[in-house]
Symmetry: C2
Subunit: 361 residues, 2 copies
């Protein structure tokens, strides 16, 4: 029996996608082979790769002057690729909203003058700092934010106005989760996201980059780290992670069937809504993030004691609710509900939490 999997990433995938993968595992369509056995230089693979790109473009309404890359190495690799490609004046500004921001900052510092212009470290990263035009340096090459912070359960609820400075966003954990300006590609110079939370499986990283930002890589940049090399090679410079890209395509098709981002946003608001409602009315569970910075994807909370948290996690596990433990440095609980998380799983979890509260008050 399938469990209710609240993993922060890799996250659960839509069951119909898994079933489709299973059904065409040994022979894909009429090709007489698995997707994993296809040469990446054949039409049968192009029929997976380029439609996946087109579908992402359509779902996210990506303007024509942006390039869509399917790379490897995760968001962590982008932490160095971005400065190597975008920092032509060796100056960039970063906002620190937690562990992933810190990693981005650490890597960027190898390549130039990095200023941390705002931080929420003072309150354990449980909020997003207020940013305005005066926050960042107007001559910076770019301005970097992490739109959703899995560990602390926070997300940006408004974008800074960066004028002519390109806004760069690590959107790994909430890409394609809501409509509006927060996710409107034209507000960004570059968006990147490891696929394993809201796009598909691990092993592929999506980069959406405005074309005027491509072509200025630092002199020692390896070919694999240079966006322009990938673009010039029709997006397939070396052997890509073919199977992971195929799964991305299936997940995007599934998302489209849910009504695209507008459709899934309703589900996401519903799922987060019932859980936050419960937490706000609970006397046992204490939500961690400040209200105005709450994530729709990762909901964090604590109980009054470590023992009670351990008891909850144990009993939840016995009832088929898994991966609820908070990040190692933070503790508490973390409930991740990316696009593929069925609303039914969240409803069941809330019921279970209510019962647990009754039994443990």
């Amino acid at each position: 029996m399938r469990v209710c999997n609240f993993s922060a990433g890799p996250g659960c995938l839509p069951l119909p996608v898994l079933e489709k993968i299973r059904n065409e595992m040994v022979e894909h369509e009429d090709h007489g082979m698995s997707v994993m056995e296809m040469s990446h230089r054949t039409q049968m693979f192009y029929d997976i790769f380029y439609p996946a790109q087109d579908l992402l473009k359509k779902i996210m309404n990506i303007p024509d002057n942006y390039k869509i890359l399917f790379l490897t190495g995760g968001a962590t690799t982008q932490n160095s690729m971005i400065p190597m490609n975008l920092m032509k004046n060796k100056k960039a500004d970063y906002v620190n909203t937690g562990v992933w921001s810190e990693k981005s900052i650490k890597e960027a510092k190898r390549f130039g003058d990095i200023k941390v212009v705002a931080s929420s470290e003072d309150r354990m990263y449980n909020y997003i700092p207020t940013l305005d035009a005066s926050t960042f340096r107007p001559d910076a090459d770019y301005f970097h934010i992490t739109t959703n912070n899995t560990i602390y359960g926070t997300r940006y609820t408004q974008l800074p106005n960066t004028g002519n400075v390109p806004l760069v966003a690590d959107m790994s954990s909430n890409i394609m989760s809501e409509t509006g300006p927060l996710m409107d590609v034209q507000n960004f110079g570059l968006i990147y996201a490891g696929a394993q939370k809201n796009i598909g499986p691990s092993g592929v990283t999506v980069v959406i980059v405005r074309e005027d930002l491509i072509g200025n890589a630092l002199p020692f940049t390896p070919d694999m780290m240079d966006y322009s090399v990938h673009v010039k090679a029709n997006y397939i410079y070396n052997t890509p992670p073919t199977f992971a890209i195929y799964v991305v395509k299936l997940c995007l098709e599934w998302l489209q069937e849910q009504g695209g981002i507008a459709g899934i946003e309703k589900v996401n608001n519903y799922k987060a809504g019932i859980l936050y409602d419960f937490l706000d009315n609970s006397k046992l569970f204490i939500p961690s993030a400040e209200k105005e910075s709450r994530s729709l994807m990762n909901i964090t909370c604590t109980l009054s004691t470590k023992d009670l948290e351990a008891k909850f996690i144990k009993e939840a596990g016995e009832n088929g609710f898994v991966n609820l433990k908070g990040y190692k440095t933070v503790g508490g609980l973390r409930i991740s509900m990316y696009n593929a998380q069925p609303a039914e799983n969240v409803e069941k979890l809330v019921e279970f939490m209510k019962k647990f509260e009754l039994q443990n008050k």
Copy 2:
């Protein structure tokens, strides 16, 4: 019906592996989830990752003083990672045996003094140059070779004696294909291989590196490009390509069932033997590589005219033999038969080639 797939990479996979993946796609063992949905920080994934590492160690008889990494970015990424990590004196020697060597050389040149000490470019890369101790510089940081050249169908049949200079090998296309000193890990400082030919699917790259070569990365090396960072993180620094590593594990289990490298070597010699025998006796098909440098994995040949080659490829395709076309810059035919290629497919192909010769003489 499954075709006979002679792709040069990604290559075909063992059918029992594909069937096992299919059978446990929706629920892996008793975990109630797919492998793709597992958090990489859980025991259930460690039970895939570390046994895969152990199995590779066992099959290749890797000594204890070597580290085994599952990375991403393909062999192409290693072309820059190797100099960034190993070139502490900024001096390395390379042998040019074709396109992949050229790519390795091009990347390495960004980081130091690279000398191409031998090349087979003079005869269209159809042989491996003779190398001895005087070939390379004794104060080089390493000496780089490409053990098998997919495009030209050549392979090293003896290793140079490099003394104290570590030998670094791109073994992407013939790793684990034969026994003897050519594949004996202790003869190398570092071995790397994209998985999609002889290990598993695309999306994961194996690096086997002697531990004394780790820890000297150039100052600007990104964390993701630094071998020591991966080792210190117990080999899982960021989210790895979880599913690709799972498939690698299944392929290694399959290889072990074939009797390991000694077992598969017999099959590889048989497959290459019947095809080379046919080519050596054919008046229509002309083998491309020189006899003493012949690959067991990729067999290249030409026919007397381009028209005849096109006719062969077309008719072969109609009969279920696919991906036989030579590399774009070389032309002719290329028949790839990695470990997972069933002997039966090669037998059928030879029969088909014989028939074609009879009909077209």
